[in-house]
């Protein structure tokens, strides 16, 4: 316990790093995944902008990257990280790897949630003379908003989980903190403090997600 109090500043700094990584990952990965999901949805056969070439490419890319465990992905993607961010380690490098991995996962989740929109309402919009892009923006996404919010909530929690591995490339965060000061120094109290805070983060995210989705669905 004393050790935990001693580590107070490091603990809060790590918590801040986790929040920072998750927030930026959701910003970049969230936006990228959204576009991926829209692309997957729109270009599928019978979709609003059917294009089998684009659809196949997107599917192959996602199916290739998604099953890679993040702890391997973060290392494997390092050359690309270095090319884009300039460095291969640190918080920003971790955010890049996290965003990439999150985007692939979010792409699938967005696609699946958009597919819940009944074809009939899309047909109705078409019958009113609306074009495909307008239908995507003003019918498909709004109609799927409730499930989309729940899907994103799920991903935020997955990203919190993945961010614990950022320490591998010097990204910091609560996972690294627990590893360094708790596990390696035989201080279970320190480990559990980090675990507890992560649990609190997850609970808050889930609560807010549920609340938003309920508001959108008005049920």
């Amino acid at each position: 316990m004393d050790r935990l109090l001693e580590l107070g500043p490091e603990f809060w700094a790590a918590a801040g790093e986790t929040l920072y990584m998750v927030a930026l990952t959701m910003l970049f990965g969230g936006a990228g995944g959204f576009l991926l999901g829209i692309g997957l949805y729109a270009t599928r056969r019978g979709g609003l902008l059917p294009n089998s070439v684009v659809n196949n490419v997107l599917n192959v890319v996602i199916n290739f990257f998604r099953p890679i465990p993040f702890i391997i992905f973060i290392a494997a993607v390092q050359p690309l990280t270095r090319a884009v961010i300039g460095v291969g380690i640190g918080t920003d490098a971790a955010i890049f790897a996290l965003s990439l991995a999150a985007a692939f996962a979010i792409g699938r989740i967005v696609e699946q949630n958009l597919l819940t929109v009944r074809p009939g309402v899309i047909e109705a919009a078409r019958s009113m003379g609306a074009g495909p892009l307008r239908i995507l923006g003003t019918v498909v996404v709004p109609e799927a908003l409730g499930p989309l919010i729940l899907g994103y909530t799920f991903i935020v929690i997955a990203v919190i989980d993945m961010s614990a591995m950022a320490g591998l490339i010097g990204g910091g965060g609560l996972g690294y903190f627990a590893q360094l000061y708790g596990f390696r120094q035989f201080e279970p109290v320190v480990t559990w403090a980090a675990v507890l805070l992560i649990v609190v983060f997850v609970q808050v995210v889930q609560y807010v997600g549920n609340w938003l989705a309920r508001r959108v669905l008005r049920r």
Binding site: A124, S127, M128, G129, R218
Partner: protein, 342 residues
């Protein structure tokens, strides 16, 4: 010139699997729909009715044939040009297909936004439409707060928003109970009579045709097997499939089971006389039989009224000398269709 003209229109869907055959959903259909018509299209499920109307507003491209809306050939238009055509054709659906995430007002406003109306014009037009369908107090409601009949009224308001000349109704009342069906049909009738909108009504329910259609086409396996004035098709359906449909709503035609009972219960020969338009021919039937000195009784029958024109079927048991009966029936056949059923 007809408002909607179909000439030798076919639509086939490619085979789903290697072993499967292509589905010919619409097969060489030619129809003319005049401005002001309420044109019914009836047929069993899978007959190709939905596909046919979806060709009219080009939600699907035709495989072959010509489709003209107000003289304009639409089969050669590009997608972007078709969007303009669709603004002039409203459509309502069996499952209503309202935007659940939008209010009633936003649903009705949607096609106006697509058409590029100004905010103020949209507001005024939506108010007018909601008043027309009797839902002014529901403007702020969400579709999931409405009953089925109310949803379809929103669907109608939305479909009419841009003042289309044509309204397509695909099984628009099939998800509604009988009472609500009548309400919605009455509303469609007003749309046709007060606003002059030409309506194409698709249904598998003959009473929908009977309530509002002026013309009807019967579809079977992708083909139009019979079409014409509702009165003509109802009073003298030629094709067996049309006869089955007509039989579900027309009064006075005994079913095979009922015929069996009649045969058992009554002696003599049993004939059905079908006549149309007015009571004179009905009176002649009785007169001819009486003049021949035959004993007869009315065992089954009914008179139908379609837009003020009557037709009916009377089934009679006739007893007496066979040659006298033959002679009398020949006379009756001058002014009614006679079918001997025993």
């Amino acid at each position: 010139m007809a408002l909607v003209t179909l000439e030798h229109v076919s639509k086939s869907y490619p085979a789903a699997g290697r072993a499967a055959e292509a589905v010919v959903a619409v097969d060489d259909v030619s129809l003319e729909i005049e401005a002001g018509d309420v044109y019914g299209i009836i047929g069993y499920s899978g007959a190709g009715k939905s596909t046919l109307v979806r060709l009219v507003n080009a939600l699907e491209p035709a495989t072959s044939g010509s489709i003209r809306i107000d003289g304009q050939e639409i089969t050669s238009l590009r997608e972007r040009e078709l969007r303009g055509i669709r603004l002039g054709i409203g459509m309502i659906f069996q499952q209503f297909e309202l935007f659940e995430a939008k209010t009633v007002r936003a649903n009705v406003a949607y096609p106006l936004k697509v058409a590029g109306w100004s905010k103020a014009d949209i507001r005024a037009r939506v108010d007018e439409l909601l008043a027309f369908v009797g839902l002014s107090d529901k403007a702020g409601a969400r579709p999931d707060q409405l009953s089925g009949g109310q949803k379809q009224r929103v669907g109608i308001a939305r479909a009419l928003a841009t003042r289309p000349r044509i309204l397509l109704a695909d099984e628009a009342t099939s998800a509604l109970d009988p009472e609500t069906t009548q309400e919605v049909l009455a509303l469609l009738k007003r749309v046709n009579e007060e606003q002059g909108v030409t309506i194409i009504v698709i249904t598998h329910e003959m009473d929908v045709i009977q309530s509002i259609a002026t013309k009807v086409a019967v579809m079977d396996r992708g083909r139009v097997i019979e079409h014409g004035d509702v009165f003509d098709v109802f009073s003298a359906p030629r094709h067996p499939s049309s006869q089955r449909f007509v039989g579900t709503v027309v009064k006075g035609v005994p079913s095979p089971a009922e015929l069996a009972v009649l045969r058992e219960r009554h002696e003599g020969r049993i004939v059905t006389c079908s006549f149309r338009d007015g009571d004179a021919s009905q009176a002649r039937v009785f007169l001819d039989l009486a003049e021949a000195g035959l004993e007869f009784e009315l065992v089954y029958g009914g008179i139908n009224d379609i837009r003020g024109r009557a037709f009916g079927h009377l089934t009679l048991a006739v007893r007496g000398d066979d040659t006298a009966i033959d002679r009398a029936l020949a006379a009756v056949a001058q002014h009614a269709d006679v079918t001997e059923v025993r």
